[in-house]
Symmetry: C2
């Protein structure tokens, strides 16, 4: 388990702390623009992949969250972006039966776009603390998601979350 800063690039820290804008930005991955600000998106679900030893939070941009709350995810609407933020799975030092996030692995996104080709989604991944764009094409993403082709290519079921009583 590490604090936010330890895996962040020195440049990211400086610019993050000072709040400056700069011309530096993560480039696109497979033609998908880097989705700025995903760190503040709301939660759709979580997962622990026991086959590859990672834990994840599944986030949505505002369009995706609104669609999930309306139950309108077949298909997800144009403009929806779903993100998976992935860490190495690691037992908590103070509660070893709890598996939490260790080292940051990558953040990957799928973005619904009407002109995005056969799947209706653009696919991108930014790897490691440097957020290096994955540039090996989207065939790998599509192959992995093919078991859920009939569910608009999405594994994530939005988790059951009660709304506030006074809405």
């Amino acid at each position: 388990m590490r604090c936010w800063w330890r895996q962040v690039t020195a440049l990211g820290v400086v610019l993050g702390l000072s709040g400056l804008n700069s011309s530096i930005a993560a480039g696109p991955s497979n033609g998908l623009s880097y989705p700025q600000g995903w760190q503040d998106w709301s939660t759709l679900a979580v997962s622990h992949r026991t086959d590859n030893g990672t834990v994840r939070v599944i986030l949505g941009n505002e369009i995706a969250i609104a669609a999930a709350r309306r139950g309108e995810t077949q298909p997800w609407p144009d403009g929806a972006i779903l993100g998976k933020v992935v860490w190495k799975a690691e037992a908590l030092a103070d509660w070893p039966a709890a598996i939490g996030p260790g080292a940051f692995v990558h953040a990957e996104f799928m973005a619904r776009a009407e002109d995005a080709g056969e799947t209706g989604w653009r696919w991108g991944r930014w790897v490691g603390a440097e957020l290096t764009p994955f540039e090996q094409g989207d065939a790998q993403c599509i192959a992995c998601h093919s078991p859920v082709k009939s569910r608009d290519w999405v594994f994530t079921e939005p988790a059951a979350v009660p709304l506030d009583p006074d809405g």
Copy 2:
């Protein structure tokens, strides 16, 4: 895995969809006011408790998220609220090695307040789709968190998350 709506009370759905304000609200738990709007808070971490078969997302209000990003969590600042949203752990139908959220169990919160007594925190829990306030006192919360008393009573290490390159 269930959609947002299936476990939500009919009242919650109606008020949520219509966006009405109403005088209905979850009451306090152990003297902690219900933290309205937590469903939209940003993520601090995730966990899979293998000892009791639940998965969780750990969220923070704006004060908590800002403190985590500055590394100022010893102690957490006055006004910080940390939330744990808890679901039954359930294998994904389409990827059985992935453990995700099933039925909603409860949402629990700890809120840093200078006048909160010996721990410096107020403790509350809202149970099930009806968000029923837990009213058995905070001794149970404090006993469970006692292994991390030296870390301001908090299990959660904020997960490593790179900031955007152009901050």
